[in-house]
């Protein structure tokens, strides 16, 4: 066993990369759930984004186009969920599951010809002298654009929900859709927009996985990342800042266990591989054990069907 091989600076830097897919998916899902919709299809949208982004990036040679395609793919798929749950008023839990099952099949279908190919590299953002700062430069200023975009997105969502009128309306729809409807807000339209945003974020997160983190395409490569993102939203008590904390925490566990596997720690590899899921469950238990808070924090209309005539 050799712990000396684990460099803390590199560890933290790779933690940020490892966390970004989950962070993106979770921040999108936060907005969706804030509007009162529970979309369990995050896993399906992520993996669809992963293959859409990968395919387009390989075909065009441009990772940027790949990321755009991933957002589009995720958003289009999420709108299937949106139409079913908002217009045809289907059960959100069941429809979300359907989205995941369909997404896994669809992505495997699209990805047939892309197994074993290397995608074009995503460049690191050139921040000049900032990257040269010892320790801090490696941790903070040596990433690609998407990492910074994900951080900006967290800040943006936080500010949007807290300070803007549109954010207030979104929250009102999520807390009490009947009251929001009575005030003249278009509940269904607002929710569809939120769902599409969530889908785009999840797609982007998936593409980050296939284009940067791994980087290649394998079937089912998200391996539960979408479900962990859903858990992080609960962990975060539906707050943007805590989503960041949660995502980095899980990224940390994921990176640490990989490093421990490489260092040859005397613990079964399978236990280490299972650790991110076990930690997620543990955190969920701790959060939900605090009865009062979890109940207050969740949007009151979460998962409920809205029908205008009632």
């Amino acid at each position: 066993m050799d712990f000396g091989a684990i460099n803390p600076v590199v560890l933290i830097a790779s933690l940020m990369v490892a966390s970004t897919p989950i962070l993106l998916a979770a921040i999108g899902e936060l907005v969706v759930e804030k509007s009162g919709v529970l979309n369990l299809g995050v896993e399906g949208m992520m993996i669809t984004g992963a293959i859409c982004g990968f395919a387009i990036a390989v075909e065009t040679g441009s990772p940027a186009l790949g990321f755009l395609a991933a957002m589009l793919g995720g958003a289009v798929l999420s709108l299937v969920f949106g139409v079913l749950t908002q217009v045809l008023m289907s059960n959100q839990v069941a429809t979300g599951l359907a989205l995941t099952l369909f997404g896994l099949g669809l992505s495997a279908l699209i990805g047939q010809g892309y197994v074993g190919i290397k995608p074009p590299a995503t460049d690191r953002l050139d921040l000049g002298p900032l990257s040269e700062i010892p320790v801090l430069g490696r941790i903070l200023f040596s990433h690609d654009l998407i990492v910074y975009l994900s951080l900006a997105l967290v800040a943006g969502v936080w500010a949007f929900l807290r300070y803007t009128r549109a954010g207030l309306i979104l929250r009102a729809v999520g807390e009490n859709h009947d009251a929001a409807h009575a005030l003249g807000y278009h509940v269904v339209r607002i929710r569809l927009a939120a769902i599409a945003f969530g889908g785009a974020c999840a797609g982007l997160g998936g593409a980050y996985l296939s284009l940067v983190r791994v980087p290649q395409w394998t079937e089912g490569m998200t391996a539960g990342a979408g479900w962990i993102a859903l858990a992080i939203v609960v962990f975060a008590s539906w707050r943007a800042g805590r989503v960041l904390l949660g995502a980095y925490l899980f990224g940390g566990v994921a990176v640490l266990q990989l490093n421990l596997q490489a260092a040859g720690l005397a613990v079964p590899v399978e236990l280490l591989s299972a650790s991110p899921y076990l930690v997620t469950i543990l955190v969920l238990v701790i959060m939900s054990a605090d009865r009062g808070r979890a109940a207050v924090a969740a949007p009151a209309s979460l998962g409920r069907v809205f029908h205008a005539s009632t």
């Binding site: 045809l88 069941a94 539960g224």
Partner: protein, 361 residues
């Protein structure tokens, strides 16, 4: 302007008709998908839905497979449907399936080469207990800490897969297997095997268990107080509480039952058609069973029919892969599409569609 008006009661006619409509719509959409893949859509649909049953060349092999594949699907879906009716969402049946298989196979491998009549019954009990215990984790966390059972049960699937990998590479590996991963083949161990009961039908003990589960669930839901409580909780949790239903007991019962049935399905599979514990012995039955449960309208008889249809898509899918080169993933997408259409057309059973102008409120 199309307007939807909620029906006071779901329409009975549409409740029966919507699954059929959904299957028809899926065939159309699936045909388009196959056409997009450059295959003849009519031939593809015929290969999936018709040839396994009626083509002389394939039917002799395919027909028995129908029961082999439908058995575990029906068994798992029956368990899931109880919970789904009560609003208790166990979506980790895949994990419980794996744990049941591991527990049951573990008993057999531990007692190898004992030849005794009680070995197989013991494995059945161990399989059910394995699945039950794995489902008890989300159940106890839900009743004790109100942790979301959807997320916990699903995350445990990934943990179970890791345990499966560990077992097939380590503890349960065949000592005479030349170092290859995977356990002894239970089909070659007569006391532990789950053989075909009537030659040429595909009927094995898992299929028998599936039929028993259908009948038991039917009686439970229609003739028994517990079944009434499950239905009541699903329709109105508040009313159920006033009627004296203990929600925690219901969570334990529904998750426990579905876990035990999924565990049984896993055991019958590992001792029968699969034969051995290997890294990828699970085939996603636990997830497909969710589709089966909904396609069957959460009704035992419906689930039986839906299980057979889903089994047909598996077998037909394999045939289409072999005959037409349609990728396996296309069948998976096809099954997902079916659930979409089903949930979509459900609007017809819950709402009246009215044409006309929207009046100003």
């Amino acid at each position: 302007m199309i307007r939807l008006e909620k029906r006071p009661q779901p329409s009975r006619a549409w409740t029966v008709a919507t699954p059929i409509l959904a299957v028809a719509l899926t065939m159309v959409a699936g045909g388009l998908m196959f056409a997009a893949l450059g295959k003849d859509p009519v031939e593809a649909i015929r290969t999936i839905f018709w040839d396994p049953l009626f083509n002389e060349q394939f039917a002799s092999y395919s027909r028995p497979q129908l029961l082999v594949k439908a058995g575990p699907l029906v068994l798992i879906a029956i368990g899931l449907s109880l919970g789904f009716r009560a609003g208790i969402w166990n979506i980790g049946a895949e994990g419980q399936y794996i744990m049941g298989a591991l527990a049951g196979a573990g008993v057999a491998l531990a007692l190898y080469p004992l030849e005794a009549w009680f070995l197989f019954p013991l494995m059945v009990i161990a399989g059910a207990l394995g699945g039950w215990a794995w489902a008890m984790i989300p159940a106890l966390l839900k009743t004790r800490f109100r942790t979301n059972e959807i997320l916990v049960s699903l995350l445990l699937v990934y943990v179970a897969e890791q345990i499966l990998a560990s077992m097939s590479l380590g503890l349960m590996r065949n000592p005479e297997g030349g170092g290859f991963p995977g356990s002894r083949n239970l089909q070659q161990y007569p006391a532990a095997a789950n053989p075909e009961l009537i030659a040429g039908t595909g009927m094995h003990w898992g299929v028998v268990a599936g039929f028993i589960a259908v009948i038991t669930a039917y009686i439970l839901l229609n003739r028994h107080m517990l079944g009434f409580q499950i239905r009541l909780t699903g329709q109105s949790p508040r009313a159920a509480r006033f009627a004296g239903v203990n929600p925690n007991a219901l969570v334990l019962f529904c998750l426990g039952t579905s876990g035990a049935l999924a565990g049984l399905a896993g055991l019958f599979e590992v001792a029968g058609p699969a034969g051995q514990i290997s890294i990828d012995f699970n085939q996603g039955y636990g997830f497909t069973a969710i589709i089966v449960a909904f396609l069957g309208r959460l009704h035992p008889v419906g689930i039986l029919l839906a299980g057979l249809l889903m089994a047909l898509t598996y077998i037909g899918g394999e045939l289409a892969q072999f005959m037409l080169g349609i990728p396996a993933a296309a069948i998976q997408a096809f099954q997902g599409m079916l659930l979409f259409f089903l949930l979509g057309v459900d609007v017809l059973s819950n709402y009246n569609i009215r044409l006309g102008r929207r009046e100003v409120a």
